[in-house]
């Protein structure tokens, strides 16, 4: 009896030790991400309810000020401008990225000579550091010597060279164009993965039945790809709404506030106006929008499938 019970405790001990093993393995990553990512995000929610300016940054004693940061931000005309630009920037970018990405995914869904090499080159925009992309386009959009103006004037699309980065509406168009260039790889990769996963025999049957390419696209490819398309659009929304680098590098949100979007507005409040509290309030608003989109994405694109 006694020996049996001691056996079972040692078994228990080794079982509970086994149960703990996965937690040892994920502990470093969890601790790190909680400290450097989770905690700061929670901290910024606290900051959004505090008076937190340069004074408090030095004294390290911020004061609770209720909803004053949010009131100040929402009454700031710059906020509405940034919100409007963010929406235009995001939806126009996604619309074109997605259409071009879908077209390319369909084009590359059947292999042809050099198709892998071409696809590789088409994805290059994704890996290049954003500061490099921004700088290249600053040069290409240069009003006097830029390539873009040359191509447009020599093709007679415009008569006079355009001051792309120096005039209001054109500046917003420029950063959207750059962002489309940046987003094409992402859309192409995910949509290609979706298309190559589709059952081929259904398409062959449709061909035998006399369906043309357009019919196959609208009645078969797109409906069958529904969940991939949803995932691509939601991720596209999340990744585009947060774009900061290329805009800051190309225009710093200017000229005036022509290219100010929510992320550049939040950054400006912190690192140029040193109003960290209001900046945190804008961050929380961005975070809120992103988390709603993320929840939809996770629920319908990731969890539903399992």
């Amino acid at each position: 009896m006694a020996s049996q019970s001691s056996l079972s405790t040692s078994q228990n001990r080794s079982l509970s030790k086994k149960k703990l093993t996965p937690y040892y393995y994920i502990f470093p990553a969890t601790l790190f991400l909680t400290a450097i990512m989770g905690y700061p995000i929670v901290y910024s929610i606290f900051m959004s309810f505090q008076k937190y300016t340069l004074t408090e940054l030095v004294s390290k004693h911020p004061v609770f000020n209720g909803l004053q940061n949010y009131q100040a931000v929402l009454n700031n005309p710059q906020f509405l401008i940034a919100l409007k630009h963010s929406l235009i920037f995001t939806f126009v970018s996604i619309f074109f990225q997605f259409l071009i990405g879908l077209g390319l995914a369909i084009l590359f869904s059947k292999s042809f000579p050099m198709s892998n090499i071409m696809r590789g080159f088409l994805l290059s925009g994704w890996q290049i550091p954003s500061v490099v992309t921004g700088t290249i386009f600053v040069w290409m959009f240069n009003g006097d010597y830029g390539l873009v103006n040359f191509l447009l004037t020599s093709l007679n699309i415009v008569k006079e060279p355009i001051g792309w980065l120096t005039t209001g509406n054109f500046a917003l168009t420029s950063v959207i164009l750059v962002n489309i260039w940046l987003g094409i790889p992402f859309n192409t990769i995910l949509l290609t993965a979706g298309i190559t996963g589709l059952p081929e025999d259904v398409f062959e049957a449709a061909t035998v039945d006399g369906a043309n390419a357009w019919q196959k696209l609208t009645y078969m490819t797109i409906p069958l790809l529904k969940s991939t398309i949803f995932a691509v659009l939601m991720l596209g929304f999340i990744y585009t709404l947060r774009v900061f680098d290329v805009i800051w590098i190309m225009t710093k949100g200017g000229p005036g506030s022509a290219t100010e979007v929510l992320p550049t507005f939040a950054y400006r409040l912190s690192f140029i106006s040193f109003n960290f509290g209001q900046s945190a309030a804008v961050s929380v608003i961005i975070l809120f929008i992103l988390l709603i989109a993320a929840a939809f994405y996770l629920k319908f694109a990731i969890l539903e499938e399992n």
């Binding site: 890996q127 490099v132 010597y145 995910l190 992103l290």
Partner: protein, 285 residues
């Protein structure tokens, strides 16, 4: 058969045209960096340089050339980026390997919340992290402590994605291989390091390079945390260059080319791994 050939030709031609158009910015970057100055400020622009110069490269590295000396030396920025990116890569891998292994081999409670946490973490924009991190790093006294602030923040950016992608690499290794090794008397950790890691090395290389590139090109954290010029990485170097030498286009593009090279080279070699990695965290498997 004939119809198929026509279709292939059509796809090839269209693919070629689109690829060439897409590559115009990169072509323009490289050719601008080696064009004679007279052709840079030429109207209309010179699409194919008539001759080559490398004074632009000499200028950004502070080597004797026909150009005026400038206040920016690419070498210092490159060295800083190399240090930041290498340490970020090491730190990321040290934490990502065990976490990804646990996700691929154990069923434990808290597993799904952990994966969801990673997926959300991967979506968090650095511009939202930089504001509280700046305040917190100041409080913790590490804002001016060498590269610490930037390395920690960069690692947080790379880690979630690294774990998600590495997990799929581990999943491809049959559990039976491990079980055989345990029976032969190896501990779990020994088996992981001596048998499993060599088997997933292509995944490890790809994720390592990916983490390196994240830190190599990272902009917001470096812009906000590193005020000392001697500590700044290449992303800030290029940014400063654009601000200080607005019309020095050939050297600007030479600097950009140098910064882009590691990314382009890595991508050419690891294209397949990058693509499957990108798909891994985004759509259902």
């Amino acid at each position: 058969m004939n119809r198929n050939k026509r279709e292939t030709l059509f796809r090839f031609t269209l693919g070629l045209i689109i690829t060439l158009i897409y590559l115009i910015p990169l072509y323009w970057m490289v050719t601008t960096s080696v064009k004679p100055v007279s052709e840079i400020f030429h109207k209309p622009p010179v699409l194919f340089p008539s001759s080559f110069q490398i004074d632009s490269y000499k200028q950004i590295f502070g080597l004797p050339s026909s150009r005026a000396e400038i206040y920016i030396n690419a070498l210092s920025y490159l060295k800083n980026s190399l240090i930041i990116a290498s340490i970020t890569m090491l730190l990321t891998m040290i934490m990502a390997v065990p976490a990804a292994y646990a996700l691929s081999r154990f069923r434990f409670s808290g597993r799904t919340p952990f994966v969801l946490f990673l997926l959300v973490a991967q979506m968090l924009p650095s511009v939202l992290m930089v504001i509280p991190l700046f305040v917190l790093f100041r409080q913790w006294g590490i804002i001016n402590l060498g590269f610490t602030s930037v390395i920690l923040a960069d690692t947080a950016l790379a880690l979630p994605f690294a774990i998600i992608v590495l997990r799929t690499s581990f999943l491809q290794i049959p559990v039976e291989i491990e079980e055989a090794a345990w029976i032969d008397g190896g501990s779990r950790l020994q088996v992981l390091t001596s048998i499993i890691l060599p088997l997933v090395r292509s995944g490890i290389v790809a994720v390592g390079v990916f983490s390196f590139l994240i830190a190599w090109g990272e902009f917001v954290f470096a812009l906000s945390f590193l005020q000392n010029v001697a500590m700044q990485p290449v992303s800030i170097g290029v940014f400063q260059f654009v601000g200080m030498y607005k019309s020095n286009f050939d050297s600007m593009m030479a600097f950009s080319t140098i910064v882009a090279i590691p990314a382009v080279v890595a991508f050419l070699f690891l294209q397949r791994q990058f693509i499957s990695g990108m798909t891994a965290g985004s759509v259902k498997q």
